[in-house]
Protein backbone atom coordinates (compact mmCIF):
# COMPACT_ATOMS: atom_id res chain seq x y z
CA UNK A 1 0.00 0.00 0.00
CA UNK A 2 2.82 2.38 1.01
CA UNK A 3 4.54 2.46 -2.36
CA UNK A 4 1.30 3.68 -3.93
CA UNK A 5 1.59 6.98 -1.96
CA UNK A 6 3.80 9.44 -3.78
CA UNK A 7 6.22 11.30 -1.48
CA UNK A 8 6.16 14.33 -3.78
CA UNK A 9 2.65 15.11 -2.56
CA UNK A 10 3.51 14.09 1.01
CA UNK A 11 6.43 16.50 0.87
CA UNK A 12 4.16 19.35 -0.23
CA UNK A 13 1.77 18.32 2.55
CA UNK A 14 4.53 18.57 5.16
CA UNK A 15 5.60 22.01 3.92
CA UNK A 16 1.94 23.12 3.98
CA UNK A 17 1.67 22.09 7.63
CA UNK A 18 4.86 24.00 8.51
CA UNK A 19 3.49 27.05 6.68
CA UNK A 20 0.23 26.75 8.62
CA UNK A 21 2.20 26.96 11.87
CA UNK A 22 4.07 30.01 10.55
CA UNK A 23 0.77 31.59 9.55
CA UNK A 24 -0.52 30.99 13.10
CA UNK A 25 2.67 32.71 14.27
CA UNK A 26 1.45 35.84 12.49
CA UNK A 27 -2.26 35.34 13.34
CA UNK A 28 -1.88 35.18 17.13
CA UNK A 29 -0.13 38.53 17.68
CA UNK A 30 -2.32 40.07 14.97
CA UNK A 31 -5.35 39.19 17.11
CA UNK A 32 -4.08 41.75 19.63
CA UNK A 33 -3.30 44.28 16.88
CA UNK A 34 0.46 43.56 16.78
CA UNK A 35 1.83 42.85 13.30
CA UNK A 36 4.98 40.79 13.82
CA UNK A 37 7.33 39.99 10.93
CA UNK A 38 9.71 38.27 13.35
CA UNK A 39 8.32 34.80 12.52
CA UNK A 40 11.34 34.01 10.33
CA UNK A 41 13.73 34.99 13.12
CA UNK A 42 12.02 32.78 15.72
CA UNK A 43 11.70 29.95 13.19
CA UNK A 44 15.44 30.19 12.58
CA UNK A 45 16.10 30.25 16.31
CA UNK A 46 13.96 27.13 16.85
CA UNK A 47 15.55 25.32 13.90
CA UNK A 48 19.14 26.06 14.96
CA UNK A 49 18.56 25.35 18.67
CA UNK A 50 16.99 21.98 17.91
CA UNK A 51 19.55 21.08 15.20
CA UNK A 52 22.49 21.95 17.46
CA UNK A 53 20.96 20.15 20.44
CA UNK A 54 20.58 16.97 18.37
CA UNK A 55 23.72 17.01 16.20
CA UNK A 56 26.17 18.42 18.75
CA UNK A 57 24.85 17.29 22.11
CA UNK A 58 23.04 14.15 20.98
CA UNK A 59 19.76 14.98 22.70
CA UNK A 60 16.70 12.93 21.62
CA UNK A 61 14.72 14.83 18.97
CA UNK A 62 11.44 15.42 20.87
CA UNK A 63 13.40 16.76 23.84
CA UNK A 64 15.45 19.07 21.56
CA UNK A 65 12.29 20.44 19.93
CA UNK A 66 10.74 21.24 23.32
CA UNK A 67 13.92 23.01 24.47
CA UNK A 68 14.03 24.98 21.19
CA UNK A 69 10.40 26.02 21.79
CA UNK A 70 11.04 27.00 25.41
CA UNK A 71 14.15 29.09 24.76
CA UNK A 72 12.50 30.84 21.82
CA UNK A 73 9.47 31.71 24.01
CA UNK A 74 11.87 33.42 26.43
CA UNK A 75 13.40 35.24 23.47
CA UNK A 76 9.85 36.15 22.46
CA UNK A 77 9.25 37.76 25.85
CA UNK A 78 12.61 39.56 25.68
CA UNK A 79 11.65 41.02 22.29
CA UNK A 80 7.96 41.41 23.14
CA UNK A 81 8.32 43.62 26.21
CA UNK A 82 10.32 46.46 24.64
CA UNK A 83 8.20 46.37 21.50
CA UNK A 84 5.09 47.17 23.55
CA UNK A 85 5.93 50.81 22.86
CA UNK A 86 5.70 50.29 19.10
CA UNK A 87 2.53 50.47 17.04
CA UNK A 88 1.50 49.14 13.64
CA UNK A 89 4.07 49.50 10.88
CA UNK A 90 6.93 50.39 13.23
CA UNK A 91 6.50 47.09 15.10
CA UNK A 92 6.48 45.25 11.75
CA UNK A 93 9.76 46.84 10.70
CA UNK A 94 11.41 46.33 14.13
CA UNK A 95 10.50 42.62 14.20
CA UNK A 96 11.75 42.35 10.61
CA UNK A 97 15.03 43.86 11.84
CA UNK A 98 15.11 41.30 14.66
CA UNK A 99 14.79 38.47 12.11
CA UNK A 100 17.66 39.80 10.01
CA UNK A 101 19.91 40.30 13.06
CA UNK A 102 19.25 36.68 14.14
CA UNK A 103 20.16 35.51 10.63
CA UNK A 104 23.47 37.39 10.73
CA UNK A 105 24.23 35.88 14.14
CA UNK A 106 23.82 32.42 12.54
CA UNK A 107 26.31 33.48 9.86
CA UNK A 108 28.82 34.93 12.34
CA UNK A 109 28.87 32.19 15.03
CA UNK A 110 30.64 29.71 12.81
CA UNK A 111 31.98 27.49 15.57
CA UNK A 112 28.47 26.67 16.80
CA UNK A 113 26.16 27.23 13.86
CA UNK A 114 28.49 26.24 11.04
CA UNK A 115 28.17 29.75 9.59
CA UNK A 116 27.00 30.07 5.98
CA UNK A 117 27.56 26.38 5.34
CA UNK A 118 24.78 25.62 7.82
CA UNK A 119 24.17 22.34 9.62
CA UNK A 120 23.66 19.15 7.63
CA UNK A 121 22.73 15.54 8.38
CA UNK A 122 20.08 16.50 10.94
CA UNK A 123 18.19 13.26 11.77
CA UNK A 124 14.56 13.23 10.61
CA UNK A 125 11.82 13.22 13.25
CA UNK A 126 10.67 9.96 11.68
CA UNK A 127 14.07 8.30 12.31
CA UNK A 128 12.95 6.57 15.54
CA UNK A 129 9.65 5.27 14.17
CA UNK A 130 11.18 4.09 10.90
CA UNK A 131 13.87 2.14 12.80
CA UNK A 132 11.15 0.54 14.93
CA UNK A 133 9.02 -0.32 11.87
CA UNK A 134 11.96 -1.85 9.99
CA UNK A 135 12.87 -4.01 13.03
CA UNK A 136 9.29 -5.26 13.12
CA UNK A 137 9.80 -5.63 9.31
CA UNK A 138 6.42 -4.03 8.73
CA UNK A 139 8.28 -2.02 6.07
CA UNK A 140 11.34 -3.08 4.03
CA UNK A 141 14.05 -1.04 2.38
CA UNK A 142 11.97 -0.47 -0.81
CA UNK A 143 9.27 1.64 0.78
CA UNK A 144 11.40 2.85 3.74
CA UNK A 145 11.60 6.30 2.19
CA UNK A 146 7.88 6.72 1.67
CA UNK A 147 7.22 5.42 5.18
CA UNK A 148 9.64 7.96 6.66
CA UNK A 149 8.02 10.81 4.69
CA UNK A 150 4.59 9.63 5.77
CA UNK A 151 5.63 9.48 9.44
CA UNK A 152 7.06 13.00 9.17
CA UNK A 153 3.78 14.15 7.68
CA UNK A 154 1.72 12.47 10.40
CA UNK A 155 3.82 13.91 13.24
CA UNK A 156 3.55 17.37 11.68
CA UNK A 157 -0.18 16.84 11.19
CA UNK A 158 -0.70 15.98 14.86
CA UNK A 159 1.24 19.00 16.13
CA UNK A 160 -0.31 21.46 13.69
CA UNK A 161 -3.72 19.97 14.37
CA UNK A 162 -3.22 20.51 18.10
CA UNK A 163 -2.26 24.18 17.57
CA UNK A 164 -5.24 24.83 15.28
CA UNK A 165 -7.63 23.07 17.69
CA UNK A 166 -6.12 25.04 20.61
CA UNK A 167 -6.83 28.42 18.97
CA UNK A 168 -10.30 27.41 17.71
CA UNK A 169 -11.14 26.33 21.27
CA UNK A 170 -9.77 29.64 22.53
CA UNK A 171 -11.97 31.55 20.09
CA UNK A 172 -14.97 32.62 22.18
CA UNK A 173 -13.32 32.62 25.56
CA UNK A 174 -12.30 35.28 28.01
CA UNK A 175 -8.71 35.36 26.74
CA UNK A 176 -9.67 35.85 23.11
CA UNK A 177 -12.23 38.49 23.97
CA UNK A 178 -9.43 40.37 25.75
CA UNK A 179 -7.20 39.99 22.67
CA UNK A 180 -9.87 41.26 20.29
CA UNK A 181 -10.72 44.12 22.65
CA UNK A 182 -7.08 45.20 22.66
CA UNK A 183 -6.99 44.98 18.86
CA UNK A 184 -10.12 47.14 18.52
CA UNK A 185 -9.38 49.80 21.14
CA UNK A 186 -6.49 49.70 23.60
CA UNK A 187 -7.61 52.62 25.77
CA UNK A 188 -11.11 51.26 26.19
CA UNK A 189 -9.74 47.77 26.96
CA UNK A 190 -7.43 49.08 29.67
CA UNK A 191 -10.21 51.14 31.22
CA UNK A 192 -12.46 48.06 31.62
CA UNK A 193 -9.72 46.18 33.47
CA UNK A 194 -7.67 44.34 30.80
CA UNK A 195 -3.90 44.37 31.43
CA UNK A 196 -3.01 45.06 27.80
CA UNK A 197 0.76 44.69 28.34
CA UNK A 198 0.34 41.17 29.76
CA UNK A 199 -1.90 39.97 26.92
CA UNK A 200 0.21 41.56 24.17
CA UNK A 201 3.41 39.95 25.46
CA UNK A 202 1.51 36.67 25.98
CA UNK A 203 0.39 36.71 22.32
CA UNK A 204 3.88 37.67 21.12
CA UNK A 205 5.58 34.86 23.05
CA UNK A 206 2.92 32.34 21.91
CA UNK A 207 3.78 33.37 18.35
CA UNK A 208 7.50 32.94 19.09
CA UNK A 209 6.79 29.46 20.50
CA UNK A 210 4.76 28.30 17.48
CA UNK A 211 7.26 29.72 14.97
CA UNK A 212 10.16 28.08 16.85
CA UNK A 213 8.38 24.70 16.91
CA UNK A 214 7.73 25.09 13.18
CA UNK A 215 11.44 25.85 12.72
CA UNK A 216 12.56 22.85 14.77
CA UNK A 217 10.20 20.54 12.85
CA UNK A 218 11.42 22.08 9.56
CA UNK A 219 15.03 21.27 10.53
CA UNK A 220 14.05 17.64 11.23
CA UNK A 221 12.10 17.42 7.99
CA UNK A 222 14.66 18.68 5.48
CA UNK A 223 17.73 17.53 7.50
CA UNK A 224 19.81 20.56 6.36
CA UNK A 225 19.43 24.20 7.40
CA UNK A 226 21.41 27.32 6.53
CA UNK A 227 20.91 31.00 7.35
CA UNK A 228 19.47 31.61 3.89
CA UNK A 229 16.37 29.57 4.85
CA UNK A 230 15.14 32.21 7.31
CA UNK A 231 15.21 35.46 5.35
CA UNK A 232 12.86 38.41 4.93
CA UNK A 233 10.93 36.45 2.27
CA UNK A 234 9.91 33.76 4.77
CA UNK A 235 8.49 36.38 7.19
CA UNK A 236 6.57 38.12 4.39
CA UNK A 237 5.22 34.78 3.15
CA UNK A 238 3.80 33.98 6.61
CA UNK A 239 2.14 37.39 6.71
CA UNK A 240 0.58 36.87 3.29
CA UNK A 241 -0.81 33.43 4.24
CA UNK A 242 -2.66 34.91 7.22
CA UNK A 243 -3.87 38.11 5.63
CA UNK A 244 -5.05 36.47 2.40
CA UNK A 245 -6.68 33.56 4.20
CA UNK A 246 -8.42 35.92 6.59
CA UNK A 247 -6.68 37.54 9.56
CA UNK A 248 -9.89 37.56 11.58
CA UNK A 249 -10.19 33.82 12.02
CA UNK A 250 -7.92 30.84 12.80
CA UNK A 251 -9.17 28.91 9.77
CA UNK A 252 -8.26 31.91 7.64
CA UNK A 253 -4.57 31.36 8.42
CA UNK A 254 -5.00 27.61 7.76
CA UNK A 255 -6.80 28.23 4.44
CA UNK A 256 -4.30 30.87 3.32
CA UNK A 257 -1.24 28.72 4.11
CA UNK A 258 -2.72 25.64 2.41
CA UNK A 259 -3.81 27.35 -0.79
CA UNK A 260 -0.70 29.50 -1.15
CA UNK A 261 1.66 26.55 -0.62
CA UNK A 262 -0.12 24.43 -3.19
CA UNK A 263 -0.68 27.16 -5.81
CA UNK A 264 3.07 27.83 -6.57
CA UNK A 265 3.54 24.05 -6.97
CA UNK A 266 0.47 23.92 -9.16
CA UNK A 267 1.64 27.01 -11.09
CA UNK A 268 5.01 25.35 -11.72
CA UNK A 269 4.18 25.32 -15.44
CA UNK A 270 4.21 29.16 -15.42
CA UNK A 271 7.98 29.07 -14.74
CA UNK A 272 9.26 32.62 -14.12
CA UNK A 273 5.80 34.18 -14.21
CA UNK A 274 4.63 31.97 -11.36
CA UNK A 275 5.62 34.53 -8.74
CA UNK A 276 4.25 37.39 -10.82
CA UNK A 277 0.84 35.71 -10.51
CA UNK A 278 1.49 35.28 -6.78
CA UNK A 279 2.18 39.02 -6.41
CA UNK A 280 -0.85 39.92 -8.54
CA UNK A 281 -3.17 37.81 -6.34
CA UNK A 282 -1.92 39.85 -3.39
CA UNK A 283 -2.63 43.22 -4.91
CA UNK A 284 -6.08 42.18 -6.15
CA UNK A 285 -7.05 40.69 -2.79
CA UNK A 286 -5.97 43.82 -0.91
CA UNK A 287 -7.91 46.01 -3.30
CA UNK A 288 -11.17 44.06 -3.23
CA UNK A 289 -11.20 41.95 -0.10
CA UNK A 290 -8.67 43.17 2.46
CA UNK A 291 -10.19 41.23 5.35
CA UNK A 292 -9.31 37.99 3.53
CA UNK A 293 -11.43 35.09 2.33
CA UNK A 294 -12.44 33.42 5.62
CA UNK A 295 -14.08 36.03 7.82
CA UNK A 296 -16.32 36.01 10.85
CA UNK A 297 -19.38 36.96 8.89
CA UNK A 298 -19.07 33.89 6.71
CA UNK A 299 -19.44 31.74 9.80
CA UNK A 300 -22.14 34.01 11.13
CA UNK A 301 -24.07 33.51 7.87
CA UNK A 302 -23.57 29.76 8.04
CA UNK A 303 -24.79 29.71 11.63
CA UNK A 304 -27.81 31.75 10.59
CA UNK A 305 -28.91 29.31 7.81
Amino acid sequence: MLSYLNSYYIQIGSFTLINIMLALGVYVPLSTGQLSLGGAGFMGLGAYLSAIAVTRFGLPIPFAIVIAGGVSTLAGILVGVPSLRLKGVYLAIATLGFGEVIRVIFIKWETITGGATGISAIPLISAGTVRFLTEQNIIDSSNKNVASDLTVFLILFLITGFFVWFFVALKNTRIWRANSAIRLDETASESIGINIHYYKVLAFSQSAFISAIAGALYAHTVSYISPSDFTYHRAVEALIFTVLGGSGHVLGAVFGATVLTIIPEALRFLKDYRYVAFGAILVIMMAFKPEGIITDNIFRKIRKK
Binding site: L35, P82, S83, R85, L86, G88, V89, Y90, A92, I93, A94, L96, G97, F98, E100, V101, V104, I107, K108, T187, Y232, V236, L239, I240, V243, D272, Y273, R274, Y275, V276, F278, G279, A280, I281, L282, V283, M286, A287, F288, P290
Partner: protein
Protein backbone atom coordinates in the same frame (compact mmCIF):
# COMPACT_ATOMS: atom_id res chain seq x y z
CA UNK B 1 45.59 59.62 6.34
CA UNK B 2 44.57 59.62 2.68
CA UNK B 3 42.84 56.31 3.28
CA UNK B 4 40.46 58.14 5.62
CA UNK B 5 39.64 60.74 3.00
CA UNK B 6 39.11 58.11 0.30
CA UNK B 7 36.77 56.21 2.58
CA UNK B 8 35.05 59.49 3.44
CA UNK B 9 34.37 60.11 -0.25
CA UNK B 10 33.09 56.56 -0.65
CA UNK B 11 30.84 57.07 2.37
CA UNK B 12 29.39 60.38 1.23
CA UNK B 13 28.80 59.14 -2.32
CA UNK B 14 26.98 56.09 -0.99
CA UNK B 15 25.19 58.32 1.51
CA UNK B 16 23.97 60.72 -1.15
CA UNK B 17 22.45 57.82 -3.11
CA UNK B 18 20.80 56.49 0.07
CA UNK B 19 19.35 59.97 0.76
CA UNK B 20 17.86 60.19 -2.71
CA UNK B 21 16.21 56.77 -2.30
CA UNK B 22 14.97 57.66 1.18
CA UNK B 23 13.54 60.95 -0.13
CA UNK B 24 11.16 59.01 -2.34
CA UNK B 25 10.07 56.85 0.61
CA UNK B 26 9.63 59.82 2.99
CA UNK B 27 7.54 61.79 0.47
CA UNK B 28 5.11 58.91 0.07
CA UNK B 29 5.00 58.23 3.82
CA UNK B 30 4.55 61.92 4.62
CA UNK B 31 1.59 62.35 2.30
CA UNK B 32 -0.06 58.93 2.36
CA UNK B 33 1.14 57.48 5.68
CA UNK B 34 2.20 54.39 3.68
CA UNK B 35 5.54 52.56 3.73
CA UNK B 36 6.05 51.87 0.04
CA UNK B 37 7.71 48.43 0.02
CA UNK B 38 7.78 48.52 -3.79
CA UNK B 39 10.16 51.49 -3.83
CA UNK B 40 13.20 49.18 -4.08
CA UNK B 41 11.73 47.48 -7.15
CA UNK B 42 10.98 50.84 -8.82
CA UNK B 43 14.57 51.89 -8.04
CA UNK B 44 15.85 48.72 -9.78
CA UNK B 45 13.71 49.29 -12.87
CA UNK B 46 15.14 52.81 -13.17
CA UNK B 47 18.64 51.31 -13.14
CA UNK B 48 17.77 48.61 -15.70
CA UNK B 49 16.19 51.12 -18.08
CA UNK B 50 19.25 53.38 -17.97
CA UNK B 51 21.53 50.40 -18.66
CA UNK B 52 19.32 49.33 -21.55
CA UNK B 53 19.32 52.81 -23.11
CA UNK B 54 23.05 53.45 -22.72
CA UNK B 55 24.57 50.00 -23.30
CA UNK B 56 22.11 48.45 -25.76
CA UNK B 57 20.93 51.53 -27.67
CA UNK B 58 24.22 53.38 -27.28
CA UNK B 59 22.56 56.69 -26.40
CA UNK B 60 24.43 59.17 -24.19
CA UNK B 61 24.34 58.93 -20.43
CA UNK B 62 21.96 61.82 -19.75
CA UNK B 63 19.35 60.24 -22.05
CA UNK B 64 19.72 57.06 -20.01
CA UNK B 65 19.27 59.05 -16.84
CA UNK B 66 16.08 60.72 -18.11
CA UNK B 67 14.80 57.39 -19.43
CA UNK B 68 15.36 55.80 -16.01
CA UNK B 69 13.44 58.57 -14.25
CA UNK B 70 10.53 58.50 -16.70
CA UNK B 71 10.08 54.74 -16.55
CA UNK B 72 10.13 54.74 -12.74
CA UNK B 73 7.67 57.64 -12.78
CA UNK B 74 5.32 55.59 -14.95
CA UNK B 75 5.72 52.65 -12.58
CA UNK B 76 4.86 55.02 -9.73
CA UNK B 77 1.72 56.06 -11.57
CA UNK B 78 0.72 52.43 -12.14
CA UNK B 79 1.48 51.63 -8.48
CA UNK B 80 -0.78 54.48 -7.33
CA UNK B 81 -3.50 53.67 -9.83
CA UNK B 82 -3.83 49.90 -9.28
CA UNK B 83 -2.51 49.27 -5.79
CA UNK B 84 -3.07 52.39 -3.66
CA UNK B 85 -6.12 54.15 -5.11
CA UNK B 86 -8.56 51.19 -4.65
CA UNK B 87 -7.40 51.01 -1.03
CA UNK B 88 -8.15 54.66 -0.47
CA UNK B 89 -11.68 54.20 -1.79
CA UNK B 90 -12.53 51.57 0.84
CA UNK B 91 -13.26 53.22 4.15
CA UNK B 92 -12.02 51.24 7.12
CA UNK B 93 -9.13 49.21 5.71
CA UNK B 94 -6.42 48.31 8.21
CA UNK B 95 -3.15 50.30 7.98
CA UNK B 96 -1.55 47.03 6.89
CA UNK B 97 -3.42 46.80 3.58
CA UNK B 98 -1.17 49.26 1.67
CA UNK B 99 1.93 47.67 3.21
CA UNK B 100 0.91 44.24 1.91
CA UNK B 101 -0.31 45.58 -1.41
CA UNK B 102 3.04 47.29 -2.08
CA UNK B 103 4.81 44.03 -1.12
CA UNK B 104 2.69 42.37 -3.82
CA UNK B 105 3.75 45.01 -6.33
CA UNK B 106 7.42 44.51 -5.41
CA UNK B 107 7.08 40.74 -6.00
CA UNK B 108 5.52 41.41 -9.41
CA UNK B 109 8.20 43.90 -10.49
CA UNK B 110 11.09 41.76 -9.24
CA UNK B 111 9.93 38.71 -11.16
CA UNK B 112 9.15 40.67 -14.32
CA UNK B 113 12.69 42.11 -14.14
CA UNK B 114 14.09 38.60 -13.69
CA UNK B 115 12.08 37.36 -16.68
CA UNK B 116 13.06 40.34 -18.90
CA UNK B 117 16.64 41.01 -17.86
CA UNK B 118 17.61 37.59 -16.57
CA UNK B 119 19.13 37.10 -13.16
CA UNK B 120 22.73 37.88 -14.10
CA UNK B 121 24.54 41.12 -13.47
CA UNK B 122 24.61 43.38 -16.48
CA UNK B 123 27.62 45.69 -16.77
CA UNK B 124 27.12 49.40 -17.36
CA UNK B 125 30.08 50.87 -19.25
CA UNK B 126 29.69 54.63 -19.47
CA UNK B 127 32.00 57.15 -21.08
CA UNK B 128 32.93 58.73 -17.76
CA UNK B 129 33.09 55.59 -15.62
CA UNK B 130 36.81 54.95 -16.23
CA UNK B 131 38.22 58.45 -15.70
CA UNK B 132 39.84 58.95 -12.39
CA UNK B 133 42.51 61.32 -11.24
CA UNK B 134 44.78 61.81 -8.30
CA UNK B 135 44.43 64.74 -5.94
CA UNK B 136 47.72 64.64 -4.11
CA UNK B 137 47.75 61.15 -2.59
CA UNK B 138 44.05 60.52 -3.02
CA UNK B 139 42.51 58.54 -5.89
CA UNK B 140 39.17 60.06 -6.91
CA UNK B 141 37.10 58.92 -9.81
CA UNK B 142 34.91 61.34 -11.68
CA UNK B 143 31.87 59.14 -11.21
CA UNK B 144 31.76 59.88 -7.49
CA UNK B 145 31.74 63.62 -8.08
CA UNK B 146 29.05 63.35 -10.76
CA UNK B 147 26.90 61.31 -8.41
CA UNK B 148 27.41 63.74 -5.55
CA UNK B 149 26.53 66.66 -7.81
CA UNK B 150 23.42 65.03 -9.28
CA UNK B 151 22.01 63.71 -6.02
CA UNK B 152 22.55 67.00 -4.18
CA UNK B 153 20.99 69.05 -6.98
CA UNK B 154 17.93 66.78 -6.99
CA UNK B 155 17.67 66.95 -3.19
CA UNK B 156 17.94 70.74 -3.14
CA UNK B 157 15.49 71.05 -6.07
CA UNK B 158 12.98 68.90 -4.18
CA UNK B 159 13.63 70.86 -0.99
CA UNK B 160 12.87 74.27 -2.55
CA UNK B 161 10.03 72.92 -4.62
CA UNK B 162 8.41 71.71 -1.38
CA UNK B 163 9.14 74.94 0.47
CA UNK B 164 7.86 77.66 -1.81
CA UNK B 165 6.25 76.38 -4.97
CA UNK B 166 2.46 76.29 -5.07
CA UNK B 167 2.11 72.56 -5.72
CA UNK B 168 4.84 71.95 -3.12
CA UNK B 169 2.82 73.71 -0.44
CA UNK B 170 -0.29 71.83 -1.60
CA UNK B 171 1.60 68.58 -1.06
CA UNK B 172 2.65 69.54 2.44
CA UNK B 173 -0.93 70.62 3.21
CA UNK B 174 -2.22 67.21 2.14
CA UNK B 175 0.44 65.53 4.25
CA UNK B 176 -0.56 67.57 7.31
CA UNK B 177 -4.27 66.89 6.98
CA UNK B 178 -5.86 65.60 3.77
CA UNK B 179 -9.43 66.56 4.73
CA UNK B 180 -8.69 70.22 5.54
CA UNK B 181 -6.51 70.45 2.41
CA UNK B 182 -9.44 69.19 0.32
CA UNK B 183 -11.67 71.67 2.10
CA UNK B 184 -9.32 74.47 1.05
CA UNK B 185 -9.73 73.51 -2.61
CA UNK B 186 -6.63 71.32 -3.04
CA UNK B 187 -7.37 68.50 -5.43
CA UNK B 188 -6.00 65.85 -3.06
CA UNK B 189 -6.12 62.86 -5.42
CA UNK B 190 -4.16 64.78 -8.08
CA UNK B 191 -1.58 65.82 -5.48
CA UNK B 192 -1.31 62.26 -4.16
CA UNK B 193 -0.75 60.82 -7.63
CA UNK B 194 1.79 63.55 -8.34
CA UNK B 195 3.61 62.75 -5.10
CA UNK B 196 3.86 59.02 -5.84
CA UNK B 197 5.06 59.72 -9.38
CA UNK B 198 7.70 62.25 -8.28
CA UNK B 199 8.83 60.00 -5.40
CA UNK B 200 9.23 57.14 -7.86
CA UNK B 201 11.20 59.41 -10.22
CA UNK B 202 13.56 60.24 -7.35
CA UNK B 203 13.84 56.49 -6.70
CA UNK B 204 14.54 55.87 -10.39
CA UNK B 205 17.22 58.59 -10.42
CA UNK B 206 18.86 56.96 -7.40
CA UNK B 207 18.74 53.66 -9.30
CA UNK B 208 20.56 55.13 -12.28
CA UNK B 209 23.18 56.66 -9.98
CA UNK B 210 23.80 53.24 -8.38
CA UNK B 211 24.19 51.72 -11.83
CA UNK B 212 26.69 54.44 -12.66
CA UNK B 213 28.54 54.21 -9.34
CA UNK B 214 28.94 50.45 -9.27
CA UNK B 215 28.88 49.81 -13.03
CA UNK B 216 26.47 46.93 -12.59
CA UNK B 217 22.82 46.14 -12.20
CA UNK B 218 21.06 42.94 -11.13
CA UNK B 219 17.60 42.29 -9.86
CA UNK B 220 18.72 41.77 -6.28
CA UNK B 221 19.66 45.41 -5.62
CA UNK B 222 16.01 46.51 -5.34
CA UNK B 223 15.21 44.57 -2.18
CA UNK B 224 18.40 45.52 -0.29
CA UNK B 225 18.00 49.23 -1.15
CA UNK B 226 14.31 49.19 -0.20
CA UNK B 227 15.05 47.84 3.28
CA UNK B 228 17.91 50.31 3.74
CA UNK B 229 15.55 53.12 2.71
CA UNK B 230 13.24 52.05 5.58
CA UNK B 231 16.13 52.18 8.04
CA UNK B 232 17.01 55.70 6.85
CA UNK B 233 13.56 57.25 7.14
CA UNK B 234 13.05 55.65 10.56
CA UNK B 235 16.46 57.01 11.65
CA UNK B 236 15.76 60.43 10.18
CA UNK B 237 12.13 60.63 11.34
CA UNK B 238 9.20 59.40 9.29
CA UNK B 239 7.91 61.92 6.78
CA UNK B 240 10.65 64.49 7.36
CA UNK B 241 12.63 65.48 4.28
CA UNK B 242 15.77 66.68 6.04
CA UNK B 243 15.53 63.55 8.18
CA UNK B 244 15.82 61.45 5.02
CA UNK B 245 18.84 63.39 3.74
CA UNK B 246 20.67 63.34 7.09
CA UNK B 247 19.72 59.68 7.69
CA UNK B 248 20.99 58.70 4.23
CA UNK B 249 24.37 60.35 4.68
CA UNK B 250 24.69 58.89 8.20
CA UNK B 251 23.96 55.35 7.01
CA UNK B 252 26.35 55.73 4.07
CA UNK B 253 29.16 56.85 6.39
CA UNK B 254 28.31 54.24 9.04
CA UNK B 255 28.46 51.41 6.50
CA UNK B 256 31.71 52.62 4.97
CA UNK B 257 33.45 53.14 8.26
CA UNK B 258 32.28 49.85 9.75
CA UNK B 259 34.08 48.27 6.83
CA UNK B 260 37.13 50.56 6.96
CA UNK B 261 37.75 50.23 10.66
CA UNK B 262 35.58 47.32 11.78
CA UNK B 263 34.60 43.92 10.40
CA UNK B 264 33.16 44.23 6.88
CA UNK B 265 30.81 41.34 7.68
CA UNK B 266 28.51 43.75 9.50
CA UNK B 267 28.09 46.19 6.58
CA UNK B 268 24.66 44.99 5.53
CA UNK B 269 23.29 44.61 9.06
CA UNK B 270 24.03 48.18 10.25
CA UNK B 271 20.76 49.31 8.70
CA UNK B 272 18.71 46.86 10.78
CA UNK B 273 20.60 47.56 14.00
CA UNK B 274 19.78 51.24 13.48
CA UNK B 275 16.09 50.41 12.96
CA UNK B 276 15.91 48.40 16.19
CA UNK B 277 17.87 50.99 18.22
CA UNK B 278 15.95 54.06 16.99
CA UNK B 279 12.53 52.45 17.37
CA UNK B 280 13.22 51.40 20.94
CA UNK B 281 14.90 54.60 22.13
CA UNK B 282 13.47 57.47 20.08
CA UNK B 283 10.64 56.18 17.90
CA UNK B 284 10.08 59.48 16.17
CA UNK B 285 13.67 59.60 14.91
CA UNK B 286 15.93 62.68 14.79
CA UNK B 287 13.65 65.18 13.07
CA UNK B 288 10.28 63.43 13.33
CA UNK B 289 7.31 64.66 15.31
CA UNK B 290 5.57 62.45 17.84
CA UNK B 291 2.00 61.57 16.84
CA UNK B 292 -0.24 62.25 19.87
CA UNK B 293 -2.99 59.74 20.54
CA UNK B 294 -6.16 61.75 21.24
CA UNK B 295 -8.78 60.27 23.51
Amino acid sequence: MHLFIEQLINGITLGSIYSLTALGLTLIFGVLDILNMAHGAVFMFGAFTAVLIVSKLGLPLWVGFLGGCIVSGLLGYALEMFALRPLRRRKNTSPLAPLISTIGVSIILENIARALFGSDTISFRTSISDINFKLGEIDINLINLVILAVSFTITILLYFWLKNSKSGRALRAVSENPDTAAFLGVNTSKVITFTVVSASCAGGAAGVLVAMAFNSVNNEIGLAMGLKGLAIIILGGMGSVNGAVAGGILLGLAETFVVAYGDSGYKEIIGFIIIMAVLLIKPQGIFGTTQKVKV
